[in-house]
């Protein structure tokens, strides 16, 4: 590729990435139900969106689920990453491989495996099944984020702390946590986004009592294109955009 064509090519790919999103946002302001022609600027669809009570219940459910599963997944994933980094123990390679497999295994397999498990132990599908499933698929991503951060640590810090009489608990509280918090926060944000966006696993473990946003959008989208969904998707895109920028900021900032 020559010097002249490469900016052109890069621009084309970015257009491919962003044109659908821009179109979506533009049409959310269009004052027409079905037409693709511009009928003037309108906030009508946003008004309809903000008065749809059912939808807001599912938004609240998704946020609750996202915060809880991201928090628990970050705690578990953080402990797993610290253990993998600090200790030699029986089954360490197995644990490493298991986390790797969890990241790469198709989501649909995790969905059906959880469905079979919950069916076997007779748990009613709903909030708890979603929570357990979301924690499980978020955790490996936290482990990877935190572990790759720990690899850049100076190992002598731990030796120095040990020489000065610190126990593992003290090392964890006084050294590991302060150094790791940007990675933990990035892991939390990644988990939160994954949980908020998940369709496939949730599809299998969700019940009728606890409706969440992605599944609600999925059922709305299957019925056809509605400008109200354009408005909803635009709001979600802006929220994700802010979260990505926040997490990038957290990761870049060196302690």
């Amino acid at each position: 590729m020559t010097r002249a064509t490469s900016p052109f090519y890069v621009t084309l790919i970015y257009l491919f990435f962003y044109i659908p999103i821009i179109v979506l946002i533009a049409y959310s302001f269009n004052n027409a139900q079905y037409s693709l022609l511009w009928h003037g600027f309108s906030l009508r669809w946003y008004q309809e969106l903000f008065t749809d009570a059912d939808l807001w219940v599912s938004v609240w459910h998704s946020l609750l689920l996202g915060v809880l599963s991201a928090t628990i997944a970050t705690a578990l994933g953080g402990l797993a990453a610290v253990s993998l980094y600090r200790y030699k123990f029986f089954g360490r390679n197995f644990l490493y491989a298991l986390i790797f497999i969890l990241i790469l295994s198709p989501e649909i397999v995790m969905g059906i495996s959880m469905l079979i498990l919950f069916n076997l132990i007779n748990v009613r599908l709903g909030f708890w099944t979603l929570l357990f499933a979301h924690i499980t698929f978020c955790m490996p991503f936290v482990v990877v984020t935190v572990y790759s951060r720990m690899v850049s640590f100076d190992k002598y810090i731990f030796e120095a702390a040990k020489d000065l009489g610190a126990t593992d608990g003290v090392i964890f509280n006084k050294i590991i946590l302060p150094l790791l918090w940007p990675a933990l926060l990035a892991g939390w944000l990644l988990s939160f986004t994954l949980s908020l966006d998940d369709v496939i696993t949730s599809y299998f473990v969700a019940g009728p009592d606890f409706e969440i946003l992605p599944l609600k959008i999925y059922s709305m989208v299957r019925l056809g294109v509605k400008p109200e969904i354009n408005a909803l998707c635009s709001v979600m895109f802006i929220v994700t955009l802010l979260m990505v920028m926040l997490s990038q900021f957290m990761l870049r900032k060196k302690p």
């Binding site: 890069v10 999103i21 397999v109 495996s113 299998f204 990505v244």
Partner: protein
Amino acid sequence: MKNDSTFKLFSLSIVWVWLLFFSLVPYGLVIIASLLSHSENNLIQLPFTIKNYIDVNNIIYLRILEKSFYLAGLCTLICLVLGYPFAYIIARMKSSFKGLLILLIIIPFWTSSLIRTYSMIAILKSKGIINSFLMGIGLIHTPLPLIFNNTAVLIGLVYNLLPFMVLPLLTNIERLDNRLIDAARDLGANRLTTFRKIILPLTMPGIIAGCILVFLPAMTIFYIPDLLGGAKSVLAGNLIQNQFLISQNWPFGSAISIVLALLLAMLLLIYWKSTRGKKERDLL
């Protein structure tokens, strides 16, 4: 020293218990379920049988698996061809915009893929952007059939999965040592030879990681064929989904998943071998 082992024991046991109960046990259950029978009254029941695996070996299901592999493979190839030059240009850029450009790749990677698939409908449908534009300038008179077929599924898959190809490639190409390329050029290699003998082998881990990250989800994201495809666009993911939630034949659905997982595991094994002992294994 007692405190040390308490902390170690605490963190290890909580992690192990969770993973055992919520990933190893359920995955084991899928294997067991695939070997059981199914009836009108029970989702899963005894006796043990290998009937489900014999049923997978049916021309209808094999066709669907074959088509899934074909579409996923084609999608991976298109992502690689589009993504490699793109990642290469961005990775070797010295501009101060580079950080921003990388952030612009990460944003679609993090945005809900359902939403991005939905936005494709507005572009591809018969009165959508592309058709309206082409008819507006008088290039075509009837709308092109861009949606509710395999082409739409392919476009949707590429659009959704391209960032998964670009990001590992970007990390890999950024680590490329410039001196090796300069040395090759000094020794008289032309651009093509330099690419073939130096750049390509060194970026192979990134290529393989990207291909895996695209190929695996492409097989099973069932909502893309569901939204963009037509009645004939059933892929492996849709097949499993149907067995679980519509036909209610869990053992057969499990058997299809196991067959699929084994096929995909073979691909992963190749990846594992090719990056043995290298840092590139950390995909994200």
